[in-house]
């Protein structure tokens, strides 16, 4: 089977609030986890096939991710081997089917992170080198996770292996599936696969099968079937797969229905009638209204402003905003010697890591200003668009700097989140959630924006994420429902507003 990967994505991500997606309450907390299906069964029993059929059948669900514990052509979770083990592996004398070969804690950690909607970095194993590689695969945002495991449903007695009787671990699975297949069929598939794909001799395959694979199956794998919710035949299993996907879809729908009234930051939420006194919020900074700032906004707001002028004054304003945003960063004392050999006691920026993340497309109108103030740091992007059906935000693409992908470094990173305006707050809400899910601290996020609507989603946003810093150019009074130019679709527009900043900057 070509392109047989331990980790699979459907075209990518997610909707955090659309149908079947992960939902968050008004307090900013997740209302439920991703749905996790665990699939167990013997080697070559057809687990991957079952997983793929489920994915196919769940076609309407935004993202399904397959996480494979151990898989012959692209195994993910084999442990980091010692030189001796590598030697054995090259001589086909290493028991890959023993539970000890697999990095169970890592598998459980990745699954747990994904279930809780955090990012995971999936290890990559090279069969050519018989070793875990230094690289890893970044995964984030799955709504449904299918974990294919060889032995995680193992007996408690097997030493060093996390067992199903551990409630914390058992809770990871919303649905446990065991793929039941006759031994002779599994052997036949194994021979066909290993001869074709790995060029191995039948004798070698049989020897390995009898020495390792069969005992392992009998001792560790088959007994786990008792823990399964559903047992699926290894062939002719279309009906069983349909049952699983129907069940999954229904579970997702139930969550979706029960949480709808509590949903936060929807574009369909009417704006709050009274604005909040944003001026008293210590974490929200509005630029001082100087004559120049008023002049800049007058040019940006005017519908008759030329595209050239619009770009120039947008860049000027974003530069000012990012400059002002610097006050939220920490500084420490530093002394330097000046070229005239005098000592000067000053300060230096005291952060470990810094990056920008712009919410596409209109957030990138702040990027030039950002670059004028902060150079040599990466800027990631989040592509969020409103669902044309219900106006809810849909995350289409995540491209984050490397140090946000890793939880350990994300925790020490300061992030400038850039978006042109906060109206309904839906995109801002989702972006903040994504950063927090990655481990970024709330008080390490500085949201930089041109314009905020006082009666828009800012109220919910401040309540949900009070420690996030916000820097804005000015605050508009209200939001008004109108029809989008062209499509005629209902949208909330800010008044007096600047219009579609992204369109005016780029078109």
């Amino acid at each position: 089977m070509a392109g047989h990967h331990g980790l699979e994505f459907l075209p990518l991500p997610i909707s955090v609030s659309a149908k079947g997606g992960i939902r968050y309450g008004q307090d900013g907390n997740r209302l439920h986890d991703a749905f996790v299906i665990g699939i167990g069964g013997g080697s070559a029993s057809g687990k991957t096939h079952v997983a793929r059929q489920i994915v196919k059948s769940l076609g309407s669900i935004p993202t399904v991710l397959i996480l494979s514990q151990a898989n012959y052509s692209f195994d993910s979770f084999y442990k980091y081997h010692t030189p001796e083990e590598i030697k054995l592996a090259f001589e086909s004398k290493f028991d890959f089917d023993h539970p000890q070969a697999i990095d169970m804690p890592m598998f459980a950690a990745c699954l747990g992170d994904l279930k809780a909607c955090r990012q995971a970095n999936i290890p990559v194993y090279s069969f050519a080198e018989h070793q875990r590689l230094d690289e890893s695969k970044y995964a984030y945002g799955a709504t449904v996770i299918i974990g294919i495991f060889e032995i995680i449903l193992t007996r408690p007695k097997a030493e060093g292996i996390m067992a199903l009787h551990d409630p914390a671990l058992r809770d990871l699975y919303d649905l446990k599936v065991f793929v039941q297949c006759d031994s002779d069929l599994m052997l036949a598939r194994r021979i066909a696969r290993d001869v074709n794909e790995r060029g191995r001799s039948v004798d070698g395959i049989l020897e390995q099968y009898l020495r390792y694979v069969k005992p392992s199956y009998d001792n560790f794998v088959r007994p786990t079937a008792v823990f399964a919710d559903i047992i699926v035949p290894g062939q002719n299993n279309a009906v069983a797969i349909d049952l699983i996907s129907t069940h999954t879809r229904r579970k997702l729908q139930e969550r979706s229905n029960s949480f709808r009234p509590k949903m936060a930051a929807s574009a369909l939420n009417p704006p709050t009638v009274l604005g909040v006194p944003l001026e008293n919020d210590p974490n929200l900074m509005i630029l001082p209204s100087t004559p120049q700032l008023k002049g800049i906004f007058t040019i940006l707001r005017s519908k008759d402003t030329s595209s050239q002028d619009f770009i120039f004054f947008t860049d000027r304003l974003s530069t000012l905003l990012v400059e002002h945003a610097q006050q939220f960063l920490p500084y420490s004392a530093q002394s330097v010697i000046t070229p005239v050999d005098a000592e000067s006691h000053g300060k230096k920026l005291d952060v470990e890591r810094l990056c920008g993340v712009s919410i596409q497309r209109s957030g990138s109108t702040l990027e030039r200003g950002f670059r004028r103030v902060i150079n040599n740091v990466p800027v990631g992007t989040l592509l969020i668009q409103s669902n044309s059906m219900d106006g809810e935000p849909l995350l289409l693409h995540v491209k984050l700097p490397v140090f946000l992908r890793r939880r350990s470094s994300a925790e020490n990173t300061w992030v400038f989140l850039l978006d042109a305006q906060i109206g309904t707050g839906a995109a801002a809400f989702m972006s903040l959630r994504i950063l927090l899910d990655h481990g970024v601290k709330q008080d390490h996020i500085i949201f930089v924006t041109f314009l905020i609507a006082r009666t828009g989603g800012i109220t919910t946003l401040r309540r949900a994420f009070p420690h996030v810093k916000i820097v804005c150019g000015t605050v508009d009074k209200e939001m008004r429902e109108g029809n989008e130019h062209g499509s005629g679709r209902k949208i909330w527009a800010m008044e007096p507003g600047i219009g579609q900043i992204g369109d005016r900057y780029y078109l």
Binding site: P288, T290, P291, Q292, K294, G295, F297, T298, R301, S302, K303, D304, D309, F312, F313, D315, R316, T319, L320, E323, Q326, Q327, L329, Y331, Q334, V336, I337, T338, P339, V340, D341, A342, E343, S344, G346, K347, K348, L349, R372, V373, N375, R480, G482, A493, M494, E495, P496, G497, I498, G499, Q500, R504
Partner: protein, 294 residues
Amino acid sequence: MIPNAPSHNHTHANSSANNRTLPPSVFTLPPTAQLEALYTIIRNKDTSRGDLLFYSDRIIRLLVEEGLNHLPVIKKSVVTPTGATYDGVGFEGKICGVSILRAGEAMEAGLREVCRSMRISKILIKGALKHLVYMGRRINSWDGFQDEETAQPKLFYSKFPQDIAKRYVLLLDPMLATGGSAMKAVDVLMEHGVGEERIIFINLISSPEGLKTFCAKFPRLKVITGWIDQGLNEKAYIIPGLGDFGERSGSVEQEWGWEEMVFDGSTGRIAWLARHSIFVHDATLDDASVPLFL
């Protein structure tokens, strides 16, 4: 006309010395930690040229933004793309940037990022250059090039738009040490009809002594300075300062390229203004050819 509402004034004075004696026409940036961090970078003698330019540009943009806030605006209403009316303000009057060569040139990039397609003139004053190249030789003495009677800084070159008298002028020089060059530049501008109150002098760093002298001479001229340092040393360098900004930010001396040709009518000399030096020729020019060079 809406009265000017500068965002901050001299009460923000951020120097360690002479806070209380600061003239009322002096405005500084708010002395925030991030501003101090920027100055620490550009003060450091080990800072690379690239970083010096990047971080000084950041300060210069803030200074220009502050300077522009001292210009008048007029009420203006516009219609937004959503059809709403916004009562805002429009910028009033033409502006001209004037940089005092050669260090002032380093401030032009920052100025252009704030002021769209701004006209920038240059002014060259003796004392702003370290040395001359005369007949192919480098000369370290200014003999013959200074005003013999007063021994004061002497204008070498200036080129302004014809309507300079009607414009507001942002005068750029990164360092205000003794104030000699800046005062000469203001004199020249006023000779061209620019009113004192229409000039805003923008500098990165200044000495209390220089500010005092300058503001005493031009009390109605607003000075926007990013930082006021301790004082001057015996060589008239600002302490702790940031060294010779023009030299640190400019290209290396070997990169001479002729940029302008200057004719000093009083002495009959032509000077080629290069990046760092003036090339001077004694020449007898007939009247007809003079305008060609100017």
